[in-house]
């Protein structure tokens, strides 16, 4: 009896295994479902709008497309896991400029040059040449640039006017304005949380002071006099910042300005559109914009995202067609009008409709005239992490500006 039971169980297990294998094979071979392109990007309001925009691509071309939008904090991990295991799940990936060299080196992305001539309406010259140059490695273009961002100053026109203050452009002016409002109980809203936002702001300030990460010989030079001066300026600015700024990222800064609590703040251009939206902003129509404060010349750190075709995409030509469509002037303008995002299409910076709706565009245009990127080499993540700790330490008084920069120099110099 027992032996019969055992034999029956084993037969049942074998039968189920066989059936499931046959079903999977049959599903694979017999499926008549058309393919669908899948894009990977970070989630949020821009992604929600883009998901709607994708439906127009589907309607125009008949090619199915869907978006996999996930939290920014997990995006790199998920993309890397997919592409390294060659699942073919993603056709297009939304890539930050600092990720692109690593992806290319790992063989995750497909060069796009072969599709330029065969895709109707595609014009390579329509893109911002600086961004396109960053996306070109060994003579091959690996991604089409799209969403550009840089830090800018946003200020409440009425609050400054009531205080008799001019919108600040230099370091000295900014400290004066920030101190005035700090004495009144508020201060400047800063993204001073231990994180990448603070590093982006600091680097922009450093470049505006002829500082930066490396000297003319390409050696790490964190303790240069210009960088030290910048770090001291950062520390003083944090002292005049709104309470809680040392735990704020871009979102919190933007909200403080948006709800009329912050008279002035350093925010990111990608969120500036929400300040102008009357439906959600208490200061819509009352916000002025400027490039980051400078000491010697206006400068900023440019970060931008691009669409890249994965090496394991099963439909690369169609994927490129989608990337070209998403980054075309027509579609980029539609997205820019909807949520104020800045594209890489050079002609749109001076587009009358956009400038009329988003008054921050001229400030961004000014800043981008002297834009730098964060380092793009393989040691850049370690440098960035070390700078995050240094900036936070200096901001909260856990280290002097000199000690904070010396620590970065000590940790990271051996890598270069």
């Amino acid at each position: 009896m027992f032996g019969k039971l055992m034999r029956s169980c084993l037969l049942l297990v074998l039968l189920l295994a066989g059936l499931s294998g046959a079903w999977a094979k049959g599903a694979q071979e017999g499926s008549k479902e058309p393919f669908r392109l899948v894009t990977s990007r970070w989630a949020g309001p821009h992604a929600d709008f883009q998901a709607e925009v994708l439906k127009k691509f589907v309607a125009e071309t008949g090619i199915q497309a869907k978006q996999d939008a996930i939290d920014y904090g997990q995006l790199f991990q998920k993309q890397t896991l997919n592409m390294s295991s060659k699942t073919g799940e993603y056709d297009l990936v939304w890539v930050a400029e600092v990720w692109l060299p690593g992806y290319v080196k790992s063989g995750y992305l497909r060069p796009l040059n072969e599709y330029f001539g065969s895709t109707a309406g595609f014009d390579l010259n329509s893109y911002n040449p600086s961004m396109l140059k960053i996306n070109t490695i060994n003579g091959k273009v690996y991604a089409l640039p799209t969403f550009a961002q840089c830090a800018i100053v946003a200020y409440n026109k009425k609050m400054l006017a009531d205080a008799g203050l001019q919108p600040p452009q230099t370091w000295a002016d900014t400290l004066k304005v920030a101190k005035y409002f700090k004495d009144q109980g508020t201060g400047i809203a800063l993204p001073a949380k231990q994180g990448m936002a603070a590093v982006d702001v600091w680097a922009g300030l450093a470049y505006s002071n002829d500082g930066g990460y490396f000297d003319k010989n390409g050696k790490l030079a964190m303790t240069s006099p210009e960088n030290l001066q910048t770090m001291k300026f950062w520390k003083t600015l944090v002292q005049y910042s709104m309470e809680g700024s040392t735990n704020w990222h871009w979102d919190e800064v933007n909200k403080a300005i948006q709800f009329g609590q912050a008279p002035i703040g350093i925010t990111i251009s990608g969120l500036a559109g929400f300040l102008e939206d009357p439906a959600s902003s208490k200061v819509a129509g009352n916000v002025g914009f400027l490039p980051l404060p400078y000491n010697k010349q206006v400068a900023t750190i440019l970060s931008f995202w691009s669409w890249a075709v994965t090496a394991d995409s099963k439909h690369p030509a169609e994927a490129f067609q989608l990337a070209a469509w998403l980054t075309s002037a027509k579609v980029e303008k539609e997205q820019s009008i909807a949520n104020g995002q800045i594209s890489a299409v050079a002609s749109l910076f001076n587009d009358k409709d956009l400038v009329a709706k988003y008054s921050f565009l001229p400030a961004v245009g000014l800043a981008l005239a002297n834009a730098h990127t964060q380092p793009l080499d393989e040691n850049a993540p370690k440098l960035a992490e070390s700078m995050m700790v240094a900036l936070s330490s200096a901001a909260v008084g856990a280290a002097t500006p000199e000690a904070a920069l010396e620590q970065v120099q000590k940790e990271i110099a051996p890598l270069y």
């Binding site: 991990q77 690593g102 992806y103 309470e243 040392t246 735990n247 992490e385 936070s392 909260v396």
Partner: protein
């Protein structure tokens, strides 16, 4: 007529029946642990496309003990675990004992209210408390302003206060679990013990320390094993609240491993940190499970 089953066949059936569970443990625990351990012996750079990298043997482990940031993360993790466990146990036991003394109906209602934080995911708990602690928008600063102690409270912006703030948020989230476990432990204490103690003239305090606590040792041991391991591996609430800052003052071992692996792409070192964390958890809290087993055997 009774059938007598052949013993080897019964044993074989037993193995067959536990095979699915074993396969799950094999693929979900043993293989990933073995893979992670193997990665920790190499200079494996995540996403580099260059395979496992150079063989380092135990250099990643030696690096941990020479890395000031890693040692700081260890210190923060130990402080967090001790503070969170102490607070949760104290409050959990206190609330459970107090609820035991009131009417069953009211205790049930209050217990349900106290257990609401259990229904919230840790990341959302972190976000809730992040806004609670915000000086401009948050309730905590509003409260301290009312009692004139606003300038005294450093909040998440201060390295001296940030860890305490995280511990408080964790206590809020996890005390309900302790409460439920202790309540179940109190339920099995025979009523006769209390009666006998009261007849002998023992007051509430004496009853608590001489009857309740000794009878709860096994339950508390279980709580220490479960919660101690969780507290030592804390990630989500710190990540949501502070990201490990300011100035690495709330950087736990798990967050350090995450940053090393997914921000700096040093996956080999990240695996070594994770393994060290696992060994420390077993070393620190494994002994409490033996207390529970020993108690069972002496009955």
């Amino acid at each position: 007529m009774r059938r007598v089953l052949n013993r080897p066949r019964v044993v074989a059936l037993g193995y067959l029946l536990i095979l699915p569970a074993f396969l799950v443990i094999l693929f979900v625990m043993i293989i990933p642990l073995a893979t992670g351990s193997a990665f920790s012996l190499f200079d494996f750079k995540f996403g580099s496309g260059q395979g496992l990298g150079r063989f380092l043997f135990l250099k990643n482990f030696v690096r941990f003990f020479a890395d000031a940031t890693a040692l700081k993360a260890l210190q923060v993790t130990l402080l967090f675990s001790a503070g969170a466990l102490a607070g949760e146990l104290f409050l959990g036991i206190l609330i459970a004992v107090l609820l035991d003394k009131i009417s069953v109906r009211l205790a049930g209602i209050l217990r349900a209210i106290f257990c609401v934080p259990l229904l919230v995911s840790p990341i959302i708990v972190g976000l809730i408390w992040r806004y609670m602690y915000d000086p401009t928008f948050g309730l905590v600063y509003a409260f301290f302003s009312r009692i004139g102690l606003r300038s005294f409270f450093g909040g998440l912006s201060s390295p001296a206060w940030a860890l305490l703030c995280v511990i408080i948020a964790d206590i809020w989230e996890t005390t309900p679990f302790i409460l439920l476990v202790i309540t179940s432990g109190l339920a099995v204490i025979p009523e006769e013990l209390y009666e006998a103690a009261r007849i002998d003239g023992a007051g509430s305090t004496r009853i608590f320390f001489s009857i309740m606590l000794p009878m709860l040792v096994k339950v508390i041991s279980v709580v220490l094993v479960i919660r101690g391991g969780d507290a030592f591996r804390v990630f989500d609430i710190i990540y949501a609240l502070t990201g490990g800052g300011p100035a690495n003052s709330t950087l736990s071992l798990s967050i350090l491993a995450f940053k090393e692996g997914f921000v700096k792409y040093q996956m080999g070192y990240a695996m070594a940190i994770s393994l060290i964390t696992m060994i420390l958890v077993v070393g620190l809290f494994g002994s409490f499970s033996r207390v529970s087993v020993r108690q069972e055997r002496t009955r």
